[in-house]
């Protein structure tokens, strides 16, 4: 009798388990907030979802611990990191473990299946089907498939099953298995896989060794091997697949004897499966499956590295430790204890497979299908996880087991090979016929290894890790044809880049007369050139064309397409490289080749020159003690970097006596020039007055003097006001603010009637402190971050571009968004710091949409100044003061308590809106980027939803100075009065003149009580207006709140309601010339 049915039945226990686990895991993933586990420990979660400490009564607090509790505590101490971790782990296991009730239902279904299978009529006997040499030429597999088809035919008619379909066993296309699901409500509960197996001793093991051939060339290719009598190529994978069927039962028995009795081991395996699943490592053919990891646990138990009394957490730790430190691609391991000389050597297996892990028979490689890159990825992840566990981070559990790492969010760049049929030609080009023969014609599997090796070699130092996703294993109905190789989606490769390797445009080869030179030339083809270097050496070298930072980031694209075309005949059109589609959103209109890092560097360079001038200025009564930048440009996070201004004088109204240009009525609005703020500290002196008003006057005198001196000594165009001096230098405009260290102090002084002077924070003092102390510190810290992580600028700017495109830019300060972006680099766990704007932006969306702002401060540990203890202190301080803190709390080493950058917003509603938008944008964008046919319109997620607004005010592009920065850049816009060459005019250009912003200021001042206004400062053509529902409640008359309201008689009573019609007309009046139309979109508000 072939394939005893109970075998299939048992199988679902091990291999079927992931299927069963799936719904449960999804459940935890969704509520994957930090709160999910903690909340449950509270007796009664208080209102509004705020976490609060549990209050115990006195008696409860001082009760003697019970024996049980003591044991529990001791166990926690020994077996787990901390009690919090223990709670989290237990909670997770509860989620993924099958309940007894479900187990019973599954058992019942299995018994039914067993009966049905036994009763299938005319099941032929083993001897009738299997014959002696069936191991050869896929005969066994074909018979196995026929047998399964026979079973399927009968079982499909049975009303017990809701669906009966085929799938491949672990993606191996020679081995279909039958999937049975019950009918009715249990359909999603369980899937039973039927695996037919030959009797354990049917095949002679010695014929299935990795060195043997079981697929004859004559049969496979229809021709005999080359006549020179060369031996048939070994078919190790084919042999393994046969062996797997024979060993199935013994593997299961091994697992159940080793793991079945120890709860800790079972928990550990469950945790490991979750760990693998979150990293997408167990997917498809050749995945690092749960079965492999269970066998690994067995191995570690048998080598006494894991003890059966260990807890699940310890098992997880030990396995990760083992994976991180052992390279199975070099030193394979074996479960086999016997020293039988007839057994093949490990070296034989290394010859045939990339990863080696032998089972207890010593003949079967469990990791036969695992590629080297998959194993390296597992190793890399294990290493990252070990560092995370060792760092004792507060949220280690969350990051380790609850955060998904899909490929698009984990890797800097990805590339899709599509269509897959191209790989067939690649196999021929790479002369992979023996591999094809071994893999039964599966050209994807055959080509994968050589392909990744080729790219790894080519990308060299630019690459940290190369991973490939495997197409998921498809299912198909029993009346359909099985899917072909080319139908199985696309092959996606993920590249994790090394930022330091990205700056070089050169691949340096050997010297021309060395023997390796030929190899180099062969590898790089026509791109390899002989070059003479400065040290006199003549070497082979490849030089890539890349001038800007963004182009350099995309050199891997050039490398990949070149190598694939050269060595595998895969043309450029089939390589869909996803590395820079989002760059378009932060490119200036005219520089499509750069994402602005260079322009920012030019501005920063000019600032450095200016600060040198300030340092060396002669004639100031006090010398300059510090010059600090305080503008987004000076920390590389301005979305659209400034360009040198060269005004065309005919476009402006000159105001000669103040050497300034003014905008003209008859021209379109001139280009927007934002001065870059620079704070200039003067040395201390006792001469400063003690009175705030007088200090202001003295400061103004300094501003005037500064302007005078800069003009005199360096010929710079300057304009001084009471609070700042604007300086025009090389086309950039800087706004120098003189700061006096003690001024915030003076503003804080309050004198009591008794003459006692005390210090109180006042809005003015806080504001001044923020602008002259904290902002420069932040700017210099982020400037430093950019030097460490070149992708920071791109990520921060993309993030800001997106928030502003969603019309929410005015509610979030520039600094708060920069800090969120910085958090992605300083606290990247479980990822590594992003090396491309694309992946950084995706993680920004993920962070924004999942972070629990209500219960956690976002700690941004700039310069790593905060110790772990200090962070713990900050967290507890946060919980204690939560209600007094802003909705969004961002903590930095310089600002540990107050979260200054989020003090004035966003409001809870606006933050919620941002969270919702990010949660919608993320899957949409990821789907676009993962689409092998190309991402389509990448700007979709940047276009704001407009249907939520009550009124839309459309603006005339003529008066929008930054019109060209819009998400959908206009085909034509207006001339903004700039010359491409420096003109003769050296008058001060029009500064900070932005009609939409002036208009918004007026609107907010006049109607801020009644409505919210939303606008994209980067060239938005529309202002969204949202009426505030509370303001529309009829109110009794009050002299202090008549603004824009009218008195109406409602049911005999006089009430105040907003005068909507007049207000709508006011919108047009206030913005005369700028406003095109005012569209009132909802009638519900016209009272």
């Amino acid at each position: 009798m072939m394939g005893p049915a109970p075998a299939g039945e048992q199988l679902c226990g091990a291999i079927g388990e992931p299927e069963v686990m799936e719904p449960a895991l999804e459940g935890t993933g969704k509520e994957g907030k930090k709160t999910s586990s903690r909340k449950r420990t509270l007796a009664e979660p208080p209102a509004k979802g705020l976490l609060q400490p549990v209050k115990l009564s006195r008696a409860e607090l001082y009760k003697e611990p019970t024996n049980e509790e003591l044991n529990h505590l001791r166990e926690t101490e020994i077996l787990f990191h901390s009690s919090l971790l223990r709670l989290q782990v237990e909670e997770l296991l509860k989620e993924v473990r099958l309940s007894e009730k479900k187990k019973d239902r599954i058992d019942a279904f299995l018994r039914e299946v067993n009966q049905r299978v036994v009763r299938v009529p005319s099941v032929p006997e083993t001897e009738e089907i299997l014959q002696d040499k069936d191991g050869l030429n896929q005969r066994y597999f074909r018979k196995r498939a026929l047998y399964l088809a026979h079973l399927a035919h009968h079982l499909a008619q049975d009303p017990l099953f809701g669906s009966v379909c085929f799938s491949y066993t672990n993606g191996c296309h020679l081995k279909p298995s039958l999937l049975l699901r019950p009918r009715g409500k249990d359909e999603r509960l369980v899937t039973v896989r039927l695996h037919p197996c030959p009797p354990p001793d049917f095949f002679r093991p010695c014929r299935l060794l990795p060195t043997k051939n079981n697929v004859r060339s004559a049969w496979y290719r229809g021709q005999s091997p080359a006549g020179d009598g060369s031996p048939e190529p070994p078919t190790p994978h084919y042999n393994t697949w046969v062996l797997q069927d024979t060993a199935l039962e013994s593997h299961l028995q091994l697992l159940s004897t080793m793991l079945g009795s120890a709860q800790g081991l079972k928990d550990g395996v469950a945790l490991l499966k979750v760990w693998l699943r979150q990293r997408e490592l167990d997917k498809g053919q050749g995945g690092f499956t749960g079965f492999l990891v269970s066998m690994l646990v067995v191995f570690l138990v048998s080598t006494h590295k894991i003890h059966t009394t260990m807890s699940g957490y310890q098992v997880l730790r030990r396995v990760l430790q083992f994976l991180a430190t052992t390279d199975l691609t070099v030193n394979g391991i074996s479960l086999c204890l016997s020293s039988d000389p007839s057994l093949p050597a490990l070296a034989d297996f290394h010859q045939a497979f990339s990863v080696v892990f032998l089972d207890s028979s010593g003949r079967l490689n469990l990791c036969a299908d695992v590629t080297a890159s998959t194993y390296h990825q597992v190793q890399y992840e294990a290493r990252l996880s070990m560092t995370l566990l060792d760092s004792r981070a507060d949220d280690g559990f969350q990051l380790l087991l609850m955060t998904p790492k899909p490929m698009i969010r984990a890797f800097d760049h990805v590339l899709h090979l599509h269509p897959l049929s191209r790989l067939q030609a690649a196999c021929h080009r790479l002369k992979l016929w023996p591999e094809l023969q071994d893999n039964g014609g599966d050209y994807v599997s055959a080509a994968l290894g050589p392909l990744t090796t080729l790219l790894e070699q080519g990308l060299g130092t630019r690459l940290k890790l190369l991973a490939h996703s495997r197409p998921p294993v498809p299912e198909w109905g029993i009346s359909q044809d099985p899917p072909k190789h080319k139908d199985s989606g696309s092959l996606t490769l993920g590249l994790l880049l090394r930022p330091e390797g990205l700056t070089s445009v050169l691949e340096l080869g050997p010297e021309a007369d060395q023997p390796e030179a030929a190899k180099f030339r062969q590898f790089w083809g026509f791109r390899s050139e002989l070059r003479r270097f400065q040290d006199g050496a003549i070497r082979e070298a490849v030089v890539w064309e890349a001038a800007s930072m963004s182009q350099k980031r995309l050199i891997p694209h050039q490398v990949v397409t070149h190598l694939l075309a050269l060595h595998t005949d895969i043309p450029e059109t089939c390589v869909h490289y996803v590395g820079g589609p989002l760059d378009a959103l932060i490119q200036g209109l005219k520089q499509t080749s750069s994402t602005g890092e260079e322009a920012l560097a030019v501005a920063v360079c000019c600032y450095d020159d200016l600060s040198r001038l300030l340092w060396g200025l002669e004639g100031l009564p006090l010398t300059v003690s510090a010059v600090q930048g305080a503008h987004p440009v000076l920390r590389y996070t301005e979305v659209f970097p400034p360009t040198p201004v060269r005004p065309a004088s005919s476009f402006y109204e000159p105001l000669q006596e103040r050497s300034s240009l003014l905008p003209r009525l008859d021209k379109p609005c001139p280009a927007y020039v934002e001065p870059m703020t620079v704070v200039c500290h003067l040395e201390g002196s006792g001469q400063w007055p003690q009175d705030a008003e007088a200090v202001q006057r003295v400061r103004a005198a300094f501003q005037l003097r500064l302007a005078e001196l800069l003009t005199q000594q360096h010929g710079l165009q300057c304009r001084a006001t009471a609070t700042h001096t604007d300086v025009l230098k090389d086309g950039f405009v800087f706004r120098i603010r003189v700061a006096y260290q003690r001024e915030p102090q003076i503003l804080k002084e309050v004198q009591s009637p008794e003459g006692m002077i005390s210090l109180r924070d006042t809005p003015a003092s806080l504001h001044l402190e923020r602008d002259t102390r904290q902002l420069p510190l932040l700017t210099s810290a982020l400037h430093g971050l950019q030097q460490q992580h070149p992708a920071f600028s791109g990520v921060a700017r993309l993030a800001k571009r997106w928030v502003r495109a969603q019309l929410l830019g005015e509610d979030f300060t520039d600094e708060s968004l920069d800090l969120v972006a910085a958090a992605l680099f300083l606290h990247p766990e479980p990822f590594t710091p992003p090396s491309s704007p694309q992946v950084g932006f995706l993680r920004f969306l993920y962070l924004v949409s999942t972070f629990d702002w209500k219960n956690n401060p976002l700690i941004v540990n700039l310069n790593n100044e905060l110790t772990v203890e200090e962070q713990v202190e900050i967290r507890s301080g946060f919980l204690a003061a939560r209600t007094q803190l802003p909705v969004m709390v961002i903590v930095t080493p310089q600002d540990r308590k107050h979260s200054v950058w989020t003090q004035d917003g966003p409001s809870a509603q606006i933050l919620q809106q941002l969270v919702v938008l990010a949660a919608e944008a993320l899957p949409m964008l990821e789907k676009q980027l993962m689409d092998p046919r190309g991402p389509g319109d990448i700007r979709t997620v940047f276009r704001p939803p407009l249907d939520i607004y009550d009124v839309l005010i459309r603006l005339s592009p003529r008066h929008i100075p930054r019109h060209r920065q819009a998400v959908d850049s206009p085909a034509a816009s207006f001339c903004r009065g700039l010359l491409s060459q420096p003109g003769p005019s050296s008058l001060m250009p029009v500064l900070g003149y932005d009609p939409p912003q002036l208009y918004l200021m007026q609107l907010r001042e006049a109607f801020g009580d009644l409505a919210l206004f939303f606008y994209d400062q980067h060239g938005g053509e529309v202002i969204g207006v949202l009426w505030k529902p509370t303001s529309f409640q009829p109110q009794p008359f009050k002299a202090s709140s008549t603004k824009g309201r009218m008195v109406m008689s409602r049911g005999g009573e006089l009430v105040m309601v907003p005068n909507v019609e007049a207000i709508l007309e006011d919108f047009a009046v206030l913005g005369e010339g700028l406003v095109q139309t005012v569209e009132a979109r909802s009638e519900r508000w016209t009272v």
Partner: protein, 327 residues
């Protein structure tokens, strides 16, 4: 800011300053205009008047709050809908003083943002000669600073809806204004008011500073300030070491012997030092009375051991009370 009749032109400032010489010292609470919503209103006089008014002009169908008259106001003829100015005669309770002359002042609510002092003055000049117009953000709760504020150091805020106090030369102006039908037009052909792009461009031109004017202003201010400081110093020097009639000697920062500055931080430091010194010397719970007292201490005591003050003093912080817990 105060503004005279809209025709006033360049003399405007000087003239309005002259008007500002009227007595301005007032009680804070009393300064608030009498709001009809306040329940403390002395009787049904106001209500009766409203009824009378309602009876007088039944065709006037614009609803207005009790005591107020509503005057429609629009930016220009082009607009369909109008805002409503709610106006009434400015009056305060008996016994309180007001900056604005009783009976001649019109109190205006809900002045739209595009309506400037000049235009309001022009619009109301049909009712009688206007002496001054002052626009404010809120009804006059606090005394507004009367000295002209520097345009360099206190730039004008962006206007929203405001309230206005319009002072007529004669009381008849107020009653005429209360009977106005409107709609008033802020911007007409003969007197256009700038808005939108026009306004922003002219605002920008105005904002380009004149460094000379700034310098002059700074110099004048600093001269005055230096003089004030010099005077204070001279006075302090004169008083240095000279006891007053009760025999107290005033100590200053500039004295021969430096003294601690009178700041909260300094006094806290001193108190802390004193406390430590005392704690070192003192034997705790040594005497029976000490024991008793410490027991008493542990019991909850009323928060304020002193007699309750008539009103809370905001500058008193708990720390300032530290010395009174001594033994």
């Amino acid at each position: 800011m105060k503004v005279g009749p809209w025709r006033a032109g360049p003399e405007r400032r000087a003239w309005s300053q002259g008007a500002g010489q009227t007595p301005r010292k007032r009680d804070r609470a009393g300064a608030e205009p009498q709001l009809p919503a306040a329940p403390a209103l002395p009787g049904g006089k106001m209500v009766a008047r409203r009824r009378k008014r309602a009876a007088r002009d039944p065709e006037d169908c614009i609803p207005s709050p009790p005591g107020y008259a509503a005057i429609p106001i629009k930016f220009s003829e082009k607009q369909q809908a109008s805002h409503y100015l709610y106006v009434r005669a400015h009056g305060v309770r008996q016994g309180t003083k007001s900056t604005w002359p009783q009976k001649r002042t019109l109190f205006v609510l809900n002045v739209p943002p595009y309506c400037t002092e000049e235009s309001l003055s022009r619009l109301l000049s049909s009712c009688g000669l206007v002496q001054s117009v002052e626009l404010q953000e809120k009804p006059d709760l606090a005394e507004s600073p009367k000295e002209s504020r520097s345009k360099f150091f206190h730039p004008k805020p962006v206007p929203g809806f405001q309230v206005a106090y319009v002072v007529f030369q004669k009381p008849s102006g107020v009653s005429a204004a209360l009977a106005l039908k409107g709609p008033l037009l802020v911007s007409t052909e003969s007197h256009p008011v700038k808005s939108g792009i026009h306004k922003w461009i002219s605002d920008y031109a105005d904002s380009v500073p004149d460094p000379e004017a700034l310098r002059v202003e700074v110099d004048t201010f600093m001269e005055a300030y230096d003089q004030k400081i010099a005077e204070e110093e001279a006075k302090a020097k004169e008083e240095e070491g000279v006891p007053d009639e009760e025999g107290w000697v005033k100590v200053t920062r500039r004295g021969r012997r430096p003294v601690l500055p009178r700041t909260e931080a300094a006094s806290l430091r001193v108190l802390e030092r004193e406390r430590r010194k005392r704690a070192r010397k003192e034997l705790l719970n040594f005497y029976a009375w000490q024991h008793r007292e410490s027991k008493m201490e542990r019991k909850p005591r009323p928060a304020h051991p002193q007699a309750p003050r008539p009103w809370p003093q905001p500058w008193m912080r708990p720390l300032a009370r530290a010395p009174d817990s001594g033994h």
